[in-house]
Symmetry: C2
């Protein structure tokens, strides 16, 4: 069935199904002029939005609609995680080419609802319009955070450790494998491609960092070099990263070898890992319980400015913020 | 200067200027992973989003970037108005073709900030990405409403009057004049074109309707026929509209004559007026102070279902929801 046969209102009925995961605070969901919900007393409200454009952020030859729906929400939840918050409600705007089969949109929403179910997030509204030139998805998340759990981008102190929550570079290497094609033959390629297509935001970890002493945080959407530069700039200090401490998965090392690339470059400049990078004093770091997640020290906060990479032989080089920068 | 010369981060610095109009509740604005604000105690939170796509919702040959920015926010504020709420914070996602001059984006944000200033709304975040296929704007508004002021789409009762807050059809006629070109020669065309390009959401009026007895409300984005059908369906009753009571401006009558169209059709099926339509008992209607705004009775809530148009000669016809329906 084509979208034009289903019609805008048929589509809305379809979207409504299983859209509410946690009805506790929801007063009005899909179907009125705006969603209405009760904020939790004593909490701060969080708001963030991300737009994904066909051929820029995704290619329909390498992602399924389910994966695309899942990821469009994941990248937004990751921003809430980086603030220490809990995502609560999302609204989704879709610009859809008319020739798109209705089944595509159904599967896109299945992906959206799957990640919403995993993270107890309600789909409370949106906008569905035609977009003759290509598919566009915009997701906005409203979340909440206790004031004590709020993580900012600024606040790092000299002597703090720089810590990441998992392996870096997998997603970017996965993207290159998808573009190259034929990756299905390599066992190690699967986790890399999965990291790219359906990243998992670090929501649970993020909520526990501020009360455990984290002084600043960012999610890694544009590569560690870029994110560390943002933390350094926002806090007014420098950051030193040790190249041999940056966690590279065995799969990344194999994937990069196949592609003739350096695995470390994927970690530093690749992006879309959606791990967190945060700063914390060594004393507080020592108290972080293992049960909270994976924590890998990759560097430290120093005097000065910018981000310096220290290689095992002691050589250093400055890392420009060169993650993915639109319009350059 | 081109966007590619300004760069993503240069652009963000530019967007930040004068983005905060009312700092009272804002904890973190543009420049972190998410905006943070304090909800007002005892209020409900509102969330709504709208996407505008080039060639579908606007044409750069007939709108200036300033007007486009203004309108992209206006249509969202109108949804908050229809819920009886106060808009507080917006996030804006922009998908921009690379060849767009930086000046275009600067002027777009001037329009966005102008309407934000008028309605005391903060620009607290967003996403700026490249969109090779055309310009896309998505705005999400977070607003607040006292529970007693909340307006729903459902709740109309038999015998309620159906009331609109101003002339209808101007915007759609203005669009046709823009498409026809040469409208500048006609004095009456200016307010019509203005109604289309820079609509004013009925925020102040909306906030005062529920406490004055309004039982349901909608904003008129898709034409009165469509919006009245939505109110009728949501409330489970019928609505009778009197064709000779629907307010048509003298300018609309002149503009429609020039275009060889029926002015009433613009009011019923045109859309984008962003006036409110609401239901209220005759007794409560009589108590509505003139100072609140313009209130024109156009019909009443009846038994049955659907929307019936009553003509002066007593003839009736059913009005299908036929506003602008994407994908049909």
């Amino acid at each position: 069935m084509k979208l034009s046969e289903l019609g805008e209102f048929g589509l809305i009925d379809l979207i409504k199904e299983n859209a509410v995961v946690d009805p506790t605070s929801l007063v009005v969901g899909i179907g009125d002029d705006a969603a209405v919900y009760v904020p939790e007393r004593g909490k701060l409200e969080l708001l963030t939005t991300d737009m994904l454009v066909e051929k820029v952020h995704f290619d329909l030859t390498t992602t399924s609609p389910w994966q695309l729906g899942y990821k469009a929400v994941a990248v937004n939840l990751s921003d809430i995680a980086a603030m220490g918050g809990k995502p609560c409600h999302i609204v989704v705007s879709l610009g859809l080419p008319e020739e798109l089969p209705a089944e595509f949109v159904v599967n896109l929403y299945k992906g959206i609802k799957e990640i919403c179910r995993e993270f107890s997030v309600n789909l409370v509204g949106g906008d569905t319009v035609s977009s003759p030139l290509g598919l566009v998805i915009n997701v906005t998340v409203a979340g909440e955070v206790e004031p004590a759990r709020l993580l900012r981008r600024s606040g790092a102190k000299i002597g703090d450790l720089v810590v990441v929550t998992g392996s870096l570079g997998n997603s970017a290497c996965g993207l290159d494998l998808l573009i190259r094609r034929g990756w299905e033959d390599y066992e190690y390629a699967w986790p890399l491609v999965t990291a790219h297509l359906t990243p998992r935001p670090q929501v649970a970890v993020g909520q526990n960092l501020a009360t455990r002493g984290a002084t600043s945080a960012n999610d890694i959407s544009d590569g560690l070099a870029s994110e560390a530069n943002e933390l350094a700039k926002a806090s007014g200090f420098g950051i030193k990263l040790y190249s041999d401490k940056i966690p590279l998965s065995p799969e990344l090392i194999e994937g990069a070898a196949l592609l003739g690339k350096r695995p470390l470059d994927y970690a530093l400049y690749g992006g879309e890992d959606y791990q967190l990078v945060f700063t914390i004093s060594p004393k507080q770091f020592a108290c972080l319980p293992q049960s909270l997640g994976q924590f890998i020290v990759v560097g430290e906060v120093t005097e000065g400015e910018g981000v310096t990479l220290v290689e095992p032989n002691g050589r250093t080089k400055m890392l420009a913020p060169g993650g993915y920068n639109h319009f350059q």
